[in-house]
Amino acid sequence: MSETPSNLNWQRTSPVAVAFFLLNGARKIVSNGLPAVAVGVAAYASGSGIRKSWLLAGLLLVSVISVAGSILAWFRFRFCIVDDRVWVRSGVLHREELSVEFGRVQNISIREPVYMRPFGLALLSIDTVGSGQKEIVLGGIKKDKAIELRDMILSKARVVTEDLPGEEDCSSDNALLLSRSPRDIIIYGLTVNFILWVLIAVGAFFGTPNLAENSFSWLGTKIQIQDVLTTIESAGGLFGSILILIGLVLVIFLLLPLISVLGALVRHYGYRLSVEGETYRKNSGLLTRHDESLKRHKIQAVVLKQNFVARFFKRTNMYLRIASAGSGVENGQLPTGPRTTFLVPALHKIELTELVAEFFPGCEFDAVQFSRINRRRFSTVILGWTVLPPSLLVTGLLSLIVSWKFVFVLPIVWALAGVIISQFWHKIGYGVVGDYGFVRHGFVGTKITVFPLFKVQRIDIRQTPGQRRRGLAHLAVHLASHTLNIPYMCVQDAKKIRDLALYHVESSNRAWY
């Protein structure tokens, strides 16, 4: 680490940033402690007058502390830019100083939250690569300044020794690659995973839906739903509660897609993806305008997702994966920013192939032929180890205690499990075309990951005694963004992929980040 320069021109952000700190704090409290908040609300609703006033007083105290803390946090937050580094000093109780070299910046995004727009202010977040490094957010700087800074950092970001064909054709300054109409965004909203529909209800408020980020909040909502159910049951008779339940389910089924679509519109309205030399830029947002930038060589993998709704619309959602800061969940904390993916929503087949070739030059997505894994071993091992023991145990107990007729349930369960496993098997596939690897997974939908072989971080091959006898293996490909697993594949293929990936990794001087 370099020394802190002694006399620096430290700057503060605009006082409006107090609102930013306040919102951030509130967001943290709610997303980390939703169950606690729910308990608090429940206690308030059921509590007596005295308890209510106590709770209100507590709430008031918490608010006052939060506001004071936010003002202090804003006051303590200072930053400066020297040569090719950003320095940040922050923290009220626990003070810290961070510095980030422009060359290590992974991803820069500018956001204009609603409350900052009237002041012409913006939020610049700088994401870095490397273990333990945090993301820097400069909240409340002038928009022009944010744009200037972004361009400066991007221009100084590490120049990669990359001599790929088609790199020189930066003829136009800012070429539009893709724009999405509100209709496309609505389709995207409908095609996001079904469980995510629930999460979006929470996620629309807090930012982009992110499963890990909101998993705790999800737990919280689950608790609340159970509470609702018990109150319904205690209120009416059995028939009445069933009616209410059906109505509730209907409402949820209609409401959730609606919420999901609204969330998608708020976040991605007016989606525009453009390219400027090596830099991709994404503009979107109805209320808060998001402007995200990403250098081509930062892309670790392209993930293509198509679930059953998306299949109906013949669309695919594309996610560009970049190295996750610290890679994975560190220190047991939930990732705070959903910015390790870069979304390209609701693509038609043609757009998809073109864009894959754009992000990964020379990658022929259409040419890939997926090889299958060993069906027999995959099915028998999963059936034998995960389905058979519990199903035997449960039906055995039921037929002993309740009725012997439960034995007949077994074949049905097994048949169903067989169908599900075979569906999983159908989706698992792998292939290599040129310098790129392809891995496919899925159940009803499909998820395909495309990655440049030279960006592989590490490769493991595992074999159980049974796999050794049958010439099968389990391959794990570790990328800087995520890990891909292929079970029960032909061991020769696994070794071929490993050797080829190692060849690309070791013979290429291209930086992977």
């Binding site: 890679s327 994975g328 292939g431 493991d460 074999q463 071929k496 080829l500 060849y503 980040y513």
Partner: protein
């Protein structure tokens, strides 16, 4: 599987399959044995306590079962330490381990973020050390080799450190 548009012939690729794995240091096996002794001896002693308190002959079954368990498990652990192997190539390091579930991990030097050498009290007694490799993929240690002599561990670390510098300056 179908390989299309190949730039390199698959047969000419250096295959990691043909690597000759070097076994761990000779003292490593001794260290593992001592380690097992340290774990099992107190447990065996404790398992006698019910018999001493109760004075029923069938309570002797507990230490007998414990002894059987100790022999089987420590045998397996010692056997496991014998099958571990490392192979250092010009550009990467391979590590094989596992008695039943055999695992081979290969890490290329130009993907290593940093290397760590550590040694516990027992390891120091035997002059052994553990080398850990970290890459950007995966959340924890990518590769941990724990049967090298301290000297060799340091050699490996230094060798890889030069390799990391090389790839960083390019």
């Amino acid at each position: 599987m179908a390989f299309i548009n190949l730039q390199v012939s698959m047969t000419d690729l250096p295959s990691a399959d043909e690597l000759v794995m070097e076994p761990m240091a000779a003292v490593y096996e001794r260290e593992v044995k001592i380690q097992q002794l340290i774990i099992w001896l107190p447990l065996l002693m404790v398992s006698f306590v019910p018999f001493l308190l109760g004075q029923f002959i069938f309570l002797l079954l507990i230490p007998v079962v414990m002894l059987m368990l100790a022999t089987i498990i420590s045998r397996l652990v010692i056997r496991k330490s014998q099958v571990k192997g490392v192979a250092l190539r010009e550009f990467d390091i391979a590590y094989q381990s596992g008695l039943f579930w055999r695992k081979t991990v290969i890490v290329a030097f130009n993907r290593v973020q940093h290397v760590e050498v550590s040694s516990g009290p027992l390891q120091r007694k035997f002059g052994l050390a553990t080398v850990k490799f970290f890459t950007a993929g995966g959340s924890s240690v990518d590769l941990s080799i724990d049967g090298l002599t301290a000297e060799r561990a340091e050699q490996v670390r230094a060798f890889i450190a030069t390799k990391i510098d090389d790839s960083a300056t390019q």
